[in-house]
């Protein structure tokens, strides 16, 4: 695939990529932007090459996921080395929290995001890929680098836990998160 063609595809997938990067970076906007930029650098430098084994979206998401994990480890090490920097990052995080709070308009959304954050990483990823990115479980498994059975398990457990945490938050916005009303649901 030529670079111009690839660029057009990346542009088309940009907002979805950013959403996925946000999810991988625990909704830290600056980190997500940094990760996405690093991914583009990797593509430009040829460090990440699309081989055509899977769809471009799956490949791109897998690269984003790996890059986010690397960046997270790097940041963690840096914050461990410099405790002062950790304080700064805490301040930054607080700033991002307030910034993102403006975007999260509804209270339901706020509770939902809290519940989502409380989920284990794999479960969160599986839910995000299926519900947010409209990927099939097979594609989600490819992105996560696990088998389809494992991805299905993460997805089911994640859904269950999300429902439970939303139920305990007692949203009461006319939504019932329990499964009792949907006995046919599998």
């Amino acid at each position: 695939m030529e670079i111009t063609e690839l660029k057009a595809e990346l542009e088309r997938l940009h907002s979805a990529s950013f959403g996925w990067a946000l999810s991988c970076c625990r909704r830290d906007r600056s980190e997500a932007e940094e990760v996405l930029q690093t991914v583009y650098v990797k593509i430009l430098e040829g460090k990440a090459r699309f081989g055509g084994e899977s769809s471009l979206k799956t490949w791109l998401f897998a690269v984003i996921r790996k890059t986010a994990a690397t960046e997270y480890r790097r940041r963690l090490l840096r914050s461990l080395r410099l405790t002062g920097e950790a304080e700064d990052s805490n301040e930054q995080l607080a700033a991002h929290e307030t910034q993102s709070a403006t975007f999260e308009r509804s209270e339901i959304q706020e509770h939902f995001q809290k519940a989502l954050k409380s989920l284990p990483r794999r479960q969160r990823e599986a839910l995000h890929l299926v519900f947010y990115e409209d990927l099939s479980l097979r594609e989600a498994a490819d992105v996560m680098g696990v088998s389809i059975g494992s991805a299905r398990q993460h997805y089911e457990r994640g859904k269950k836990r999300l429902r439970e945490s939303l139920a305990t938050m007692e949203l009461g916005y006319g939504l019932n998160w329990g499964r009792s009303e949907h006995p046919s649901a599998v």
Binding site: L10, H14, R29, L44, L127, Y132, L137
Partner: protein, 188 residues
């Protein structure tokens, strides 16, 4: 994938989140240009840890070079002191057979040391090399002539019997002499 009941609610929440993210996502062109600038930017060649490691390596190498240069003359002197050197090679060999090794080595080493001190560097080196060769030759000779101290214990009066074989054209009585004692007794 079937979306039943709460699945639809979860999807609704996710799509709301997606909408928020899309409105606040940074522009592709800006991100792409920044990435391009980053990829074109030359890599920082100087890294503190790398520089420190290189400096340590260079320091180590220099120290080793200096140390080896300084320790060389001492090694040469010791070599001169131990190598035997005499003008007449055959004479040395014949002496070696008659005299004890230690005495001869001492004498030759003293002679070599004196010789090395007096002669020029090239000549002395040649002399040292020659002396070294001679020493090796002498050692080889000594090893060749060495005999085990227990070799005499292996000899016995019946050695001739074991070492000789009966001839095929010998007569029967002669052949029987090689048979064990009992058989011989029966004959008698």
């Amino acid at each position: 994938m079937d979306l039943i009941g709460d699945d639809q609610s979860i999807r609704a929440l996710f799509s709301e989140l997606k909408f928020v993210d899309e409105t606040t996502a940074p522009g592709f062109t800006a991100t792409w240009h920044r990435a391009q600038a980053r990829s074109l930017q030359p890599r920082r060649a100087f890294k503190l840890s790398f520089a420190a490691a290189t400096a340590l390596l260079v320091l180590g190498l220099v120290t080793m070079a200096i140390w080896s240069n300084r320790s060389k003359p001492a090694a040469n002197v010791s070599a001169y002191a131990t190598v035997p050197a005499s003008k007449d090679f055959k004479a040395t060999v014949s002496k070696k057979e008659s005299q004890p090794v230690d005495k001869q080595e001492n004498r030759t080493s003293e002679a070599t040391a004196v010789k090395v001190r007096r002669s020029g560097s090239v000549a002395s080196r040649r002399a040292i090399e020659m002396a070294g060769t001679r020493k090796v030759f002498n050692d080889a000779k000594t090893i060749e002539s060495w005999q085990s101290p227990t070799a005499s214990l292996l000899s016995s009066p019946s050695d001739d019997l074991f070492k000789s074989l009966p001839q095929l054209n010998e007569n029967a009585n002669g052949m029987k002499s090689f048979l064990p004692g009992r058989a011989n007794d029966k004959e008698k």
